[in-house]
Symmetry: C2
């Protein structure tokens, strides 16, 4: 390794990865109340996209809070750091040509604006899962609303802290009374031309 020519020794860039995978990297960011259906939609969308041969990575509380963000709590500062790191992970996947399906309550415009800034406007698609508070309470899949309403969770979005709806999401989806398939087809129609080369 006597003759090192750093200028030719560049790691592969995003375009190389995208060409290799035959798809464009992108982050589809699902925001909405707990129980609104974000992860359900992300999982169904992943299945549909993978049937087209598109490589996706779902990021959600389960695989992020127990891993890269282990140790972060729910203070304002930690919520911000939580979203910041998630957005940086999204960037690494986008630079590998992968489509990230990010499913996070991300209740404030400022949190989502930070994610958009880090990820980059053109690579960030916001999907607002707008299922109502009443419907989320009724579903209460994880029993969290009952707990929060009993005062057993200090800071729970929709109950003890506010959810600020996005001002201009690419898509708003209210899942109430609609099938998963119907919702996912709508999302797919809107995003597919951003993914295919």
């Amino acid at each position: 390794m006597d003759n090192i020519h750093p200028i030719f020794e560049r790691m592969q860039g995003r375009e190389d990865k995208e060409r290799q995978l035959g798809q464009r990297g992108l982050t589809i960011w699902f925001t909405g109340l707990s129980g609104s259906g974000k992860s359900t939609l992300a999982i169904a969308l992943e299945r549909r996209l993978s049937e087209r041969g598109i490589l996706c990575r779902i990021l959600d509380g389960d695989n992020v809070r127990t891993g890269i963000n282990r140790g972060l709590g729910f203070s304002d500062e930690h919520r911000r750091e939580n979203i910041r790191r998630i957005a940086e992970v999204c960037r690494l996947f986008i630079d590998t040509g992968v489509v990230v399906l990010a499913s996070f309550v991300s209740p404030n415009e400022s949190l989502r604006a930070m994610a958009r800034d880090i990820i980059g406007e053109q690579d960030f698609v916001e999907v607002y899962v707008s299922t109502s508070f009443e419907e989320c309470c009724r579903r209460d899949v994880k029993g969290l609303y009952q707990k929060a309403l009993r005062g057993e969770i200090a800071d729970f979005t929709g109950v003890t802290s506010a959810y600020e709806p996005p001002t201009s999401p690419l898509l708003s989806i209210d899942t109430e009374g609609r099938s998963i398939e119907e919702c996912v087809e709508e999302i797919e129609r809107v995003v597919i031309n951003k993914i295919t080369l």
Copy 2:
């Protein structure tokens, strides 16, 4: 979304991704002194593997310290957190079926053991780039050794803090007097059967 059956709504697992990509997820962890050739080898290996259609992601100080680990310094605690987060990012890529080429000085056995624990023994391949201190000083591509020897860098591995060589790396590579191609072919021969399905 009236009938939610969480048990069927699982996100795709590693096996699905590996089948889709036709490769196995793995982390190849390059450790060694600054200037030993870690990143040069990672870049050359990425090129060779991608020619076989294998999707790789290089992680190094440049794309990690300016992103997910922005704000971390070089105290013992921060070095540990730096490697912890990197290892968690490796896991996410492995779970997406991707081959990670991680290039970090990672000077202590305890740091590398933590990375191995998080990533998982069977998914962690350690490559020790054993180029000597003298040779790294002589190359001094970034001028860091000169600076460190002048006392201008507080804590620089090999000068003011020790480098502990790995006790049982899968491979040791001394790059002195060898071509990049020769070194990379050797690495490829050793790792390829861990990547191909």
